[in-house]
């Protein structure tokens, strides 16, 4: 019995060592970014690889804010993401309700069509989308960045699946009282769908906030350039050698621009992970 206990203890210790190693490996890059951002250029290249800065400096942060239009890019990103979330709420909730709750020929076809598009990479649509936006002379506007982002079928599909779980009896009662579909949707379905809608909003936020390929194509100036594109222009503007002298600054910029997403994640960690999980399981 004793040896069994010992074996069990050994096993647990092993698991804890593994867990700690994993956490260290995943945290190390983040802590290294943090540490680098507070170091002077001289210290960054002193070859000591110390994790805690010897001379703690805020110079990188000062330079990041004064030398680069981070504020403008951040504003553009927030406006774009805000618009995408706002528009997609309307664009996704209505069709999801219609597909889930109204009987008509073609529901099955539309759902399959929608799901089939989920797996199509958005890069493949870029050529025609670009031609459309260019011919409407909308390049380098918020409109151009936002519009192709509000046809993400996964949001509709998630809501559709959730709406189907709401018992039909609820809407029957409302119908008998003479309520139309719009009333049923706003009075019965929406109040019950808080969790599903927040999942959709988080997913939309993550996808839109990180969206890089499309904004890279259609934004050229600080007027509409979003953060990911702005950061890429900083990075590609350095040649290999000069970049090596600016790492403190680059890490400071990285951290500053992650603040919105990081804050949201820290505040709503559980919801965030739930949203991703649901998209994975249902998708």
């Amino acid at each position: 019995m004793n040896s069994y206990k010992n074996k069990k203890l050994f096993y647990r210790v092993l698991l804890y060592i593994l867990l700690i190693m994993v956490v260290i490996i995943f945290l190390a890059p983040l802590l290294w970014i943090l540490s680098t951002s507070f170091k002077t250029t001289q210290e960054i290249f002193n070859g000591l690889y110390n994790w805690i800065p010897q001379t703690f400096t805020l110079e990188n942060y000062r330079e990041a804010i004064t030398e680069y239009p981070l504020g403008e890019w951040m504003r553009n990103s927030l406006i774009v993401v805000g618009l995408v979330i706002l528009l997609s709420s309307v664009f996704y909730i209505l069709p999801a309700y219609a597909l889930a709750c109204i009987n008509f020929k073609g529901t099955g076809f539309l759902v399959i069509l929608m799901v089939a598009t989920i797996m199509i990479p958005k890069e493949l649509s870029s050529i025609m989308s670009y031609k459309i936006v260019a011919s409407l002379e909308l390049l380098d506007t918020y409109f151009a960045v936002v519009i192709p982002q509000i046809c993400d079928a996964i949001g509709v599909f998630l809501l559709y699946q959730f709406f189907r779980t709401i018992p039909k009896e609820y809407s029957e009662v409302c119908r008998l009282d003479g309520g139309g579909h719009f009333t049923i949707l706003t009075k019965i379905y929406l109040p019950l769908s808080g969790p599903a809608i927040s999942v959709m909003v988080i997913l939309t936020f993550v996808t839109s906030w990180n969206n890089f390929f499309w904004p890279l194509l259609v934004t050229f100036t600080n007027k509409s350039m979003t953060l990911p594109v702005g950061l890429a222009t900083i990075m590609t503007s350095y040649s290999e050698s000069s970049a090596s002298r600016q790492y403190g600054l680059l890490m400071a910029i990285s951290l500053l621009t992650s603040i919105p997403a990081l804050t949201l994640f820290v505040l709503m960690q559980r919801k965030f992970i739930e949203a991703i999980t649901i998209s994975g399981i249902k998708g």
Binding site: F26, V90, P95, T117, I150, C151, A153, V156, P228, Y247
Partner: protein, 309 residues
């Protein structure tokens, strides 16, 4: 008013609501998702510019593609990336989920730590890993030197550049798979595991006979998304190496981007897009087949066997 006309009025209202609610989304879906795929086929047969629809050139773009040595490099690079990232993200994503599913203290915190890279922007991951993988003063080389490994010039040598990008990508995305697997593991019925342990099945046996079959649907999803997303890799490459050195990290989407939006050879880029679409379609079908049919096939075989016995 007769009962019938009230019903008719209702139905009319319902149809109006139906049209109003479906049209905006499906119009967008059609214009920006479905039509562009067909448009790529059309464009690929033409010499085309941004403002014009160009002239018909038949299979010229495809002939050029077949004779383009860079295209083969792109194919090789993209699949190399998939080979580096795919298995690690799937297998280790699962193993990490297994670890986090144990009754240990601190698993919630660890889960957050493993997942947090995923919320950073691709460009940031690229910038951060350019620093960590730096040949002369990068953190990774520093720790590798303790193991007696000579400094590796990760991103500036064509033999290791793709591996460097893969390292960054794995750190960035593996948490996604882990979180999804973790949810699936929590759905594995406890009774099965307990019954198996009473029957004397050891941990390895329980893993292969119960846990892995139970999360099969999740594995299907994880494999499908990992493969498709890997084939589309773009942001990391754009920021970390821009396809270099010597085109050793030029990937499919990167090549499409350069041809379409740097050189504005839209017809040629569309041909690349068509090939990419067909590859993704083929791989999706293969994965569906791999995961889907087996079950039915096995069930049929089992039934047949039952009949014989």
């Amino acid at each position: 008013m007769t009962k019938n006309s009230i019903w008719n009025k209702r139905r009319r209202r319902e149809i109006r609501f139906l049209i109003l609610s479906l049209t905006p989304f499906f119009t967008m879906l059609f214009i920006f998702k479905i039509l562009p795929i067909f448009a790529n086929f059309y464009y690929s047969l033409r010499d085309i510019e941004v403002q014009t629809s160009g002239i018909f050139v038949g299979l010229k773009n495809y002939r050029m593609l077949v004779n383009d040595p860079l295209f083969y490099k792109v194919l090789k690079n993209t699949f190399t990336y998939l080979l580096y990232v795919g298995p690690v993200n799937i297998v280790f994503g699962f193993l990490l989920a297994l670890l986090l599913n144990q009754k240990l203290k601190g698993t919630t915190f660890s889960r957050a730590v493993i997942f947090v890279p995923y919320i950073f922007m691709t460009t940031l991951v690229g910038i951060a890993f350019r620093w960590i993988l730096d040949g002369n003063s990068g953190l990774l080389n520093h720790y590798l030197s303790y193991l007696g490994i000579e400094p590796v010039y990760w991103l500036t040598k064509s033999s290791t550049a793709m591996l460097g990008i893969a390292i960054a990508s794995i750190w960035w995305t593996i948490g996604y798979n882990t979180v999804i697997y973790l949810a699936a593991l929590q759905g594995v019925p406890r009774e099965y595991l307990e019954a198996a342990s009473i029957d004397g099945a050891n941990k390895v046996k329980r893993l292969f006979k119960i846990i892995i079959p139970c999360v099969k649907n999740t594995t299907f999803f994880v494999v499908l998304t990992t493969v498709i997303y890997s084939i589309q890799v773009f942001g990391q490459v754009y920021v970390m190496t821009s396809g270099g050195p010597n085109y050793s990290t030029l990937t499919f989407v990167q090549y499409l981007y350069i041809k379409a939006f740097r050189e504005f050879k839209l017809g040629y880029a569309a041909a690349i897009g068509v090939v990419l679409f067909l590859i993704i379609l083929a791989m999706s079908i293969a994965i569906f087949w791999l995961f889907g049919d087996h079950d039915e096939f096995k069930a049929k075989r089992m039934k047949r066997r039952e009949k014989f016995e």
